[in-house]
């Protein structure tokens, strides 16, 4: 199984001043695997994604893609980041560029592809997320769900080897969550390697090959989704899952 | 005695004379600010009134004052008033009139933009709590307006002090004029006098304006929403 490890996090330590956010994280993600990271807010799960993409300097351990270190201080960091796609919680489209320009800017300027080539692929991807008619509008004219779908397309157009999703539906109105999650389900079905931080538990259950539960900067539990959601081994995971469930009014009264 | 040029400052009453000259412009600034403050508040309130006519008149006044260089305004009043109205205004009076006109316009615009920057829902929530319009203004709108208004108003003082340096160009004896006199009188004894004297005036202006700017910025930071 070790032969097809794509992304590896080894003994990762991340501190902000004296606060230890991540305290020795070990994680291997295999080619085509979908890993969902769960945990209470402030547990460090978003920081983990940012470290994987080299957006944060780290204080110990390392992150490796295909065996090559991702180090924000290294010369090859731009190259490494091209291989890791990321979608953020807040809408991060570039407001001064049209949807088409948002998607094709990096392929053209960073990857050096031709305009025709980049636009052809962008159109194909936009078609897949049903937004082809929006290619010439600006981000502010899109709904939150549409923006996130474009953000996913923008990352895909760089042909990343792995995609990171940082609570991409957390800022969305409830009725728009589904359209974004459907796109992600489609990606998973197509064999994309993904690391997903989310609070949508039923979605996590549907998409994950493996669930990682983080608390206090450490991986507390690691299990297949079915086992994690039905029979969590650790007390902290049980408590975490309980915060999402409410009892019926009738049973409370009795 | 090239390297002792700075000693000209301590010769006789030179330094005091410079300070006296500086006081002339600062005095004009302070008088102008004190008069512009109430007038500007009135102008600002008028500009938020519902009458289109009043608004238009205020707008024209504001735009004309703000688009003209202050020196042009000084010329208009100092040279123009004598001829047009037959009154002979001293340079000092002209300067006060011009800087009051200018200060009122600037202050009026500050008041106006502070008033319109209060979001509408502030009025709505005050009304929802059962306040009448006077109570709303007194307890909700006014305190917020003052907070938005005070930092730029204090900043207006430094702008005023800097701008009043122009009065030398209509022949007033202020710090730059005094400097010229000192430099001319010591032409041979202190050949580098102009470097030192103008350098010192530069610093003096800085020492007056900088603390006021800092105060304005500190208040702005403290009250930032």
């Amino acid at each position: 199984m070790n032969s097809d490890v794509l992304l590896e996090v080894k003994d990762l330590v991340k501190k902000f001043d004296d606060d230890t956010i991540l305290d020795g994280i070990n994680l291997s993600v295999h080619q085509g695997e979908v890993v969902v990271v769960l945990g209470p807010s402030g547990c460090g799960k978003s920081t983990l994604l940012r470290c994987i993409n080299g957006l944060e300097p780290i204080q110990g351990g390392g992150v490796y893609l295909d065996g090559v270190t991702i180090d924000p201080g290294a010369k090859n960091i731009s190259e490494m980041r091209q291989k890791v796609g990321m979608v953020f919680q807040s809408y991060d489209l570039f407001p001064h560029l049209t949807i088409m320009e948002n998607i094709t800017l990096a392929p053209r300027k960073v990857a050096g592809r031709s305009k025709e080539d980049a636009e052809a692929e962008a159109r194909q991807l936009l078609e897949r997320v049903s937004l082809l008619d929006k290619q010439d509008v600006y981000p502010r004219q899109l709904s939150g769900g549409q923006k996130q779908r474009v953000a996913i397309v923008r990352a895909l157009c760089m042909h990343p080897e792995v995609m990171l999703f940082d609570e991409v539906t957390a800022a969305l109105d409830p009725e728009m969550v589904r359209e974004v999650l459907d796109v992600m389900l489609g990606l998973a079905a197509g064999g994309m390697t993904m690391v997903i931080v989310t609070h949508e538990l039923s979605f996590a259950r549907a998409i994950a090959d493996r669930v990682i539960f983080i608390d206090g900067g450490r991986i507390v539990e690691e299990a297949p989704p079915k086992q994690f959601f039905t029979a969590p081994r650790t007390k902290r995971a049980q408590e975490f899952l309980n915060t999402f469930t409410f009892e019926d009014k009738d049973s409370q009264d009795s | 005695m090239q390297d002792l040029g700075i000693s000209i400052l301590f010769k006789g009453t030179n330094f005091l004379r410079l300070l006296g000259g500086l006081w002339t412009t600062v005095k004009i600034s302070l008088i102008a600010v004190l008069i512009s403050l109430p007038l500007g508040i009135i102008l600002g309130l008028l500009m938020t009134s519902n009458s289109k006519f009043i608004k238009a008149v205020c707008r024209v006044y504001l735009d004309f004052i703000r688009i003209m260089p202050q020196l042009v305004l000084l010329f208009l009043v100092y040279f123009g008033a004598t001829r047009t109205f037959g009154v002979n205004l001293s340079a000092f009076t002209s300067a006060v009139i011009v800087f009051v006109m200018w200060g009122t316009a600037e202050m009026g615009d500050l008041v106006r933009s502070a008033l319109i920057s209060i979001p509408k829902h502030q009025y709505d929530s005050a009304a929802a709590l059962g306040m009448n319009s006077r109570q709303t203004f007194r307890y909700v709108i006014l305190p917020q307006t003052v907070r938005r208004l005070l930092p730029p108003s204090i900043n207006l003082i430094t702008r005023m002090i800097k701008t009043t340096s122009l009065v030398v160009l209509i022949g007033m004896v202020e710090v730059l004029k005094v400097a010229q006199q000192i430099i001319d009188a010591n032409r041979f004894e202190y050949p580098t006098a102009s470097l030192w004297i103008y350098g010192v005036i530069f610093l003096l202006y800085f020492l007056i304006c900088w603390p006021i700017s800092l105060l304005s910025r500190a208040l702005e930071k403290r009250w930032a929403d």
């Binding site: 190259e79 980041r81 600006y138 502010r140 760089m158 | 688009i67 020196l71 005036i201 530069f202």
Partner: protein, 219 residues
């Protein structure tokens, strides 16, 4: 109103307006260059340099242009630095305008959410590419109203250059008043000249500001 007088001396004003415009033009161009450089230094908090730029901004914003000009024109020659009147005027205007432009550019850069930089990095943009394609265009759009306001401010400020013996509009007006006592005519032409110089920019800037404020990108 003496129309003949106006007709006779209008060419003097045209010439003087040309001088005012030329000084303002170079002053504004150099101010923008200084402003962009200093704005970047302030935004990115470049060590040491940001202190120097900070001190420059305080000095420049808390002293009158007239005093800066007197120092440049009468003081500097004593240090062996000789500048012509016009060079002094442009240098003074740049010293003053650079700090105003710097603050406008910096606040434009500061207004951009950090997520913009991060998402550019996550797509593989280098810091230089991120600045060029993502941050600078957005910052400029935010800064434009302040920059045009600065331009108007700088054109107005050129009115003091007569103090260092430049034959600008103020100089001509004062000359005519002194020589012929045709005060009304001289002042009228003065006001009209400045209106011609300033009104178009003022109107354009308020149009641009309205567009940016109410529309932004893509409306």
């Amino acid at each position: 109103m003496d129309l003949e007088f106006i007709h006779k001396y209008a060419p003097l004003y045209v010439e003087a307006a040309g001088l005012t415009a030329r000084i303002a033009f170079f002053g504004i161009v150099f101010s923008l260059i200084v402003g962009v450089l200093c704005g970047f230094i302030r935004h990115f908090k470049v060590p040491v340099l940001q202190r120097i730029v900070g001190a420059y901004i305080e000095l420049s914003r808390n002293t009158p242009l007239l005093v800066q000009l007197f120092f440049l024109y009468y003081g500097l020659p004593k240090l062996g630095i000789m500048l012509s009147s016009e060079q002094c005027a442009v240098a003074g205007l740049t010293f003053l305008g650079g700090s105003y432009m710097c603050e406008s550019i910096r606040s434009g850069l500061d207004s951009i959410e950090p997520i913009q930089t991060e998402s550019a990095y996550s797509l593989g943009f280098t810091p230089v590419q991120t600045m060029r394609y993502i941050l600078f265009p957005q910052a400029l759009a935010v800064s434009v109203p302040a920059i045009t306001a600065n331009m108007i401010f700088l054109i107005k400020e050129t009115s003091v250059v007569s103090a260092i013996a430049l034959a600008d509009l103020m100089f001509v007006a004062k000359d005519l008043i002194g020589l012929y006592y045709q005060t009304d005519e001289a002042l009228l032409m003065l006001v009209i000249s400045y209106l011609i110089l300033l009104l178009p920019i003022s109107i354009i800037s308020s149009l641009v500001e309205r567009r940016l404020r109410y529309a932004g990108f893509g409306n």
